[in-house]
């Protein structure tokens, strides 16, 4: 029997596509190279119990993968660095059933209208490739609304004065603000900013058969032990319950087999290490914006744009120590954000003009606090002062951080390609990331970083420091790989096959039956986390592929507060 589709990757994008396809009656296989710790192996339509509040397992021992000894990546800042600077963990998103959804703390904002028409709204930038998307926010809005229902998002409509328009309220009211936010949000407001409860895929109330979040605090970097997070568990359990899907975990897709304009299926290597071919009428690729271009290149597709225009978020981190204890180990990792740095103001315009740039845009600013003791302990020196520092805890208990996920403009030199020498455990070339922030990112970071520092000052913080990831030296040089796990843009969407890899329905221009269902297709990075947008795009692409209409699935949305 030939499958209707094989879906490569079980993260939020692959899960969203699988959900639409199985509801359309398609028989599919979801292939995932990582292990299954998300679904009960006895009954894949139920969640598993493998996740836990365990800092060793999740942060020190690669439980969610990828293990850099098995699946390294390489990194360089530019061709002048030679083949590579480092080999190891480079922008890795979990390689496990559920993908990047499992380790996130679930902030899932929508993009804004102008993020889809950046070029026509703001104009070009030297050194960057600024473009409009071929689709508008309005076209995507119904899919945003459906994504919020299907994964379960808590938030307050109207709380963010800069938000894009919405066809309805959030499915749930926001959860409890962390203590830090009760200090940072008023301080930001006093300085004229507009903080609001972050739209978050963590249940504030019981939702869709999953419990309310109980604020355990092991959120960012951790799988949720009670499945209160809107990681793809809701989508995947529903997919498996249809009986029309199989999940093949620990199975690596080494190649899309194709001839002419059509894919015939994929080659896979299963848990036993044996390679075999799988025939399928359609292939949905959802490996993320690093692994997806790698697979296209391993499959012999030759479009020069495959892998180019990699965008991350250029992170600016302002941190300061407060006199009071913030107990950041309780609750979610971030509960409040503000968008003022995205929208900009006259001072931002002046900073751009002074730097000789036509405009700058920052990103969403997250109000957060780190909270875990191993993470903290290794930052302090060993010896007689260690335990006193751990008790005073300027880092774990009293550090306030404001982190801006700065918009990164697409540049053709920032890219993913195949490393010429480094191989993964199965013998295939690994992805090599070449990345350096551009002048826009540096100027925007400088300007908005100072603003973040001022908010910390207003909060009463001391020892305020401002840093970036990737780091920037005094001479303007870039450090090693950016920390951002938000990767986008490596198989760009567009109407013109000479300037894009996929069409407006996320279908690969060169292959009529291959669709990309992850953030590879993004044309701009916006200053917002990519998850909700990639879920909406994946569902839209899958609906078009199957010829079905969008049909709401989630629980009824009551007109929530606000």
């Amino acid at each position: 029997m030939t499958l209707d589709a094989v879906v490569v990757g079980s993260g939020p994008g692959g899960a969203a596509a699988a959900d639409v396809l199985t509801r359309a009656g398609w028989s599919i296989v979801v292939v995932e190279k990582g292990r299954n710790h998300l679904l009960d192996p006895e009954d894949l339509s139920r969640p598993a119990t493998d996740f836990s509040n365990d800092e060793v397992k999740f942060l020190q021992r690669h439980f969610l993968g990828p293990d850099p000894l098995l699946e390294p990546r390489s990194f360089r800042t530019g061709v002048e660095d030679g083949d590579r600077l480092v080999v190891g963990d480079v922008n890795s998103v979990p390689s496990t059933v559920g993908g990047g959804g499992t380790h996130a703390d679930g902030k899932v904002p929508r993009f804004r209208e102008e993020d889809f028409r950046l070029l026509s709204t703001f104009g070009p930038q030297a050194g960057a490739d600024v473009r409009d998307w071929p689709i508008s926010y309005d076209e995507l809005e119904p899919y945003y609304a459906e994504a919020e229902r299907s994964i379960g998002v808590a938030g307050t409509a109207g709380a963010n004065p800069f938000a894009s328009w919405r066809s309805g309220g959030y499915p749930m009211p926001p959860g409890a603000p962390m203590y830090l936010a009760t200090i940072s949000a008023p301080a930001a407001e006093r300085l004229g900013y507009h903080p609001y409860p972050a739209p978050t895929a963590a249940n504030s109330v019981a939702y869709d058969g999953r419990p309310a979040c109980n604020n355990c605090g092991f959120c960012s970097f951790f799988g949720c032990p009670i499945h209160a997070k809107g990681d793809p568990v809701a989508l995947l359990t529903r997919v498996m319950a249809t009986g029309r899907a199989e999940l093949w975990a620990e199975t690596f897709v080494s190649r899309i087999r194709w001839s002419g304009r059509r894919a015939r299926g994929v080659d896979v290597i299963g848990p036993d290490g044996v390679e075999r071919s799988v025939d399928a009428r359609h292939v949905v690729v959802a490996g993320g914006a690093v692994e997806t271009p790698r697979l296209l290149l391993l499959s012999g597709l030759e479009h020069d744009l495959i892998g180019r225009h990699l965008m991350v978020h250029f992170q600016t981190i302002a941190a300061g120590v407060l006199p009071v204890r913030l107990h950041g180990q309780r609750g979610r990792s971030v509960t409040h954000v503000h968008d003022d740095a995205i929208v900009g103001d006259q001072r931002a315009a002046a900073a751009a003009a002074e730097a000789g740039l036509p405009w700058i845009r920052g990103g969403m600013v997250e109000h957060g606090t780190p909270a875990l003791p191993i993470m903290e302990a290794v930052l302090y020196p060993w010896g007689e002062r260690h335990r006193q520092l751990m008790r005073d805890s300027p880092y774990r208990e009293r550090l306030a951080a404001l982190i801006m996920q700065g918009e990164d403009l697409a540049a053709p030199t920032n890219r993913v390609d195949l490393d010429p020498h480094v191989k993964d455990v199965r013998g295939f070339p690994v992805a090599r990331v070449t990345y350096r922030g551009g002048r826009h990112e540096l100027v925007a970071s400088d300007h908005h970083g100072a603003n973040l520092g001022a908010i910390l000052g207003e909060m009463g913080a001391e020892r305020i420091s401002i840093s970036t990831s990737p780091g920037v030296s005094a001479r303007g040089g870039m450090s090693l790989a950016p920390e951002s796990r938000h990767v986008m843009g490596t198989a760009r969407m567009g109407d013109d096959p000479s300037t894009s890899v996929v069409d407006r329905w996320s279908r690969v221009h060169a292959l009529d039956n291959v669709v990309i269902a992850d953030s590879s297709v993004f044309v701009t990075s916006a200053g917002y986390g990519p998850t909700l947008t990639l879920v909406a795009l994946a569902a839209r692409a899958a609906a078009h592929l199957a010829g079905t209409e969008l049909s709401p699935t989630g629980p009824e949305v009551s007109p929530g507060p606000g």
Partner: protein, 189 residues
């Protein structure tokens, strides 16, 4: 309890060394008596256990409600997990499947050499001498300190943080599922 991988002598050196990294004070014993050497011994000898003691189980430990024991049921490793962790712990040892991107020096070898470099008389030496030797072997001490922090502030199921004493010394509650925190505890001072 006998160490599973370290010699008794090496274990004694680690007890002394870990205690210099996180010394005792009025709130509790040093890392050497909080299980740090046992955590390291369990990692170095992880494959003496079935399943290997790499990833503790879930979803709850029983310390804050729910049935006890799940953390102590370690996850099984698949073929590739075992390859990665044997390579990391035992080193690549010239085996082609462990050296795809070059040789890997294992943790066992780094510990055996590092402990030897601290000196056979380390455990009996005065603390100033111990600190001086730790400073002079910075690469090994950095490794030892990271593992000592993991031991003292990680879940006790990995062999360290005896009875949760490491968490108690710093006022940290550790894993809190299924109890969690109330909204008032999250939002209030």
């Amino acid at each position: 309890m006998m160490p599973v991988w370290l010699t008794e002598r090496e274990h004694a050196t680690l007890v002394a060394a870990c205690t210099r990294l996180i010394p005792a004070d009025e709130d509790g014993p040093g890392a050497g008596m909080l299980g740090a050497p046992e955590y390291i011994d369990t990692l170095l000898g992880a494959f003496s256990f079935d399943p290997p003691r790499i990833w503790a189980g879930g979803p709850v430990s029983g310390r804050h409600g729910g049935p006890p024991g799940a953390f102590a049921r370690f996850h099984r490793l698949n073929r590739l997990d075992e390859l990665a962790w044997r390579t990391r712990i035992e080193g690549s040892q010239g085996l082609p499947e462990r050296e795809r991107n070059g040789p890997v020096v294992g943790l066992q070898e780094r510990y055996r050499r590092g402990i030897e470099a601290l000196g056979h008389d380390f455990a009996e030496s005065p603390t100033e001498v111990q600190d001086d030797r730790l400073r002079r072997h910075q690469e090994f001490t950095d490794l030892l300190y990271r593992h000592t922090c993991e031991a003292v502030y990680g879940p006790p199921e990995y062999g360290g943080n005896l009875g949760g004493a490491g968490w108690r010394t710093i006022g940290f509650d550790g894993d809190v599922q299924p109890r969690g925190w109330s909204d008032a505890e999250v939002s209030g001072p």
